[in-house]
Symmetry: C2
Subunit: 432 residues, 2 copies
Amino acid sequence: MTSQQGSESSAASSQHDNGKFNRRPITPAAAQQKIAAYVQPATLEEVKLHEAGGRFLAQSVTAPHPYPHFRRSGMDGYALQAADLAQASSDHIVWLEVIDNIPCGYTPSHEITSGYAARIMTGAMVPDGADVVVMLEMTELRTEHGRTWVGIKRQVEQGKNITPIGLEVQEGDLLLQQGAQIGAGEISVLATFGVHTVPVYRKPRVAIFSTGTELLGVEEPIAPGKIRNSNSLMLAQQIAAAGGEPILLGAIEDKLELARTMMMNALEHYDLVVSSGGVSVGDYDIMGDLVRSGEVEMLFNKISMRPGSVTTGAVKDGKLLFALSGNPGACFVGCELLVRPTIRQMMGSQHDYLPQWQAELGREYVKINSFTRYVRGRLEMENGRLIAYPALLDESNVMVTIKDSDCLIVIPPTSEPLAAGTIVQILRLMDR
Amino acid sequence: MTSQQGSESSAASSQHDNGKFNRRPITPAAAQQKIAAYVQPATLEEVKLHEAGGRFLAQSVTAPHPYPHFRRSGMDGYALQAADLAQASSDHIVWLEVIDNIPCGYTPSHEITSGYAARIMTGAMVPDGADVVVMLEMTELRTEHGRTWVGIKRQVEQGKNITPIGLEVQEGDLLLQQGAQIGAGEISVLATFGVHTVPVYRKPRVAIFSTGTELLGVEEPIAPGKIRNSNSLMLAQQIAAAGGEPILLGAIEDKLELARTMMMNALEHYDLVVSSGGVSVGDYDIMGDLVRSGEVEMLFNKISMRPGSVTTGAVKDGKLLFALSGNPGACFVGCELLVRPTIRQMMGSQHDYLPQWQAELGREYVKINSFTRYVRGRLEMENGRLIAYPALLDESNVMVTIKDSDCLIVIPPTSEPLAAGTIVQILRLMDR
């Protein structure tokens, strides 16, 4: 756009020479692939099961025994042989002598043979010989001279109310796949099989800093021309939700030397580095300058997406660095699309990226762009249809709509407005 | 079902007299309402913003200043008066003297008057007098005798690239409502406005214990007739995910005195008590006996739902007690439907219950029941339609399917199987 007739000393031209305007965009998917190729899994640790919630299993787990591992009664009642009830009817009560009482957690004292029964509780171990449990409500009792008989006047099919060994799980069955995220259901399974510690990948320690002379600490009074460093705290929450351990390094002024020191220190001491700010085309594009200086290997410095096209990814000695836009909306999206999957990959997840669904666009979306837009949106279920409403203010620097979003609506490159009702892809935000 | 001709000494009849069979079921919604009437909010505490993730705001927050609080440049370029470009065209470059350079975070040194311009960065404060920012790419520079002029050959509309004061938020606007859950977006907003500590309700301390002589510790070797106490750890994960602080008190044998001591101790020391086991109709229904003994006020001891119909709720001295079924599936559902909302209400949430959506049933569901069934299921998006697949094994004691579920499919009382494709209500599980 700069005039070819302009002076040689034009600031714009000299920036052209720097390559600041000449960034080559790659697609969001290509950026994700480039990153994934450099992800190194975190080291392993063994954690107690009750502290493992949210982590990812580093090894598959198979069943060390069947479940149930004994024949389990599904009812309170009487364990006996079904054949003994062959003649039972409403006119004919069959009486069997009760020779045992088996509460939960006890083992039977007697094998059951024809003519005998054992009182048994729900969940207790069915005695050998018995092939049915008759529910308590179908029985009556008679006691004489210290001996007890149970009376039943119905036939009951063999096997009724007995859960066979291994019904749910056979010994050696795969219980949980490597990479499974550990939630309540996984804990239930692991605890059932006595797996009281689990191997997981460590939580990556993620250094966070912001760049910008305009930045105040969150606790500082507001001042003309200044804004508070909200991005660092927002990123910390996103990184914690992704499973990482956020380390807040604060904010630095727009000075290349400060940025170099901060970045090198962060790359040395932490597993992953995320910065916000200092990537836009301008006089103080310090993260850009740093990456271009060759001290780190640049993976990309432009992505064909809005917001956040000037996002930069780089690697040094196997550690990844993300320089996200300083605009809150762009910073948020960059973290969800790039940083979150990286953290999850480092932790061994098999489901790295935000889950993708389809929904109907809830209102017209008029912005057109040659890049893919990730528009913050809100999902509603209306008459069985999933509707995604784009936020009304969605400029990259509009921060107030982040909180009301539970999805990113993917607007592909288009030259036409999208009508309400159009089917769109949405990425579900998982921290809501 | 017991024969009217049975002996008076029948165990079943004597249990009838105890009221064990005569429980009056209330609906799940009625149970939730009864509980909600007894919930007492936790006490307040002030926490640092970066530690507030997942908590609920105890007070609404309004904006202490507008945002932006200064006229902000949306571009790198030059701030000037739009009227000065009235004659600009591709044939006529307008030259304005550059009298200031305003990086982000600095305040302008000069007011801009006709004939002058200031170099300005994206995000920097627009100087008084200027009413437009012309983007860098539309400009050229000329320097002579230490003075600098910027040349522009287009007209630009007034206001272009300047974000006015208060565009996003006016002073006094409601930023966040009391009860809002604090996620990344909320943190961004609060940090932007300098809210570095927030008032929240304390995390309730939730005592968890299991009852059952059959229970082994998770680390113990398996033994005939025994099972491991998986429910306590599963509940701990569910309670932590709901926002509570789980306190594991372990397992006790089926002895009324032990249960009484455990329950009374738990009610005295913690904010909420959740037990699993000891509620089914049987000889060892100790939690039922305890509640019937009058030491606590019973709210309900049967809910018209499957699994978990024998769930019991009670209150003592304003503290709530939930005695959930010992069956893993029933325990899981009871915690999601009753305990999770209670914890969130204690923490000041405005959205207590699992969010409800509609989906198509992914396969036929044949079980019929006079109670509402909460069937564990998995959501899939197929061709823009949300499909809910019921777990294949969904007996209340089948534990392996919990982990594969991300919703509960609500099957209303019905006497007919539900065909695949039927629209059903689903409750989204939020810990996945």
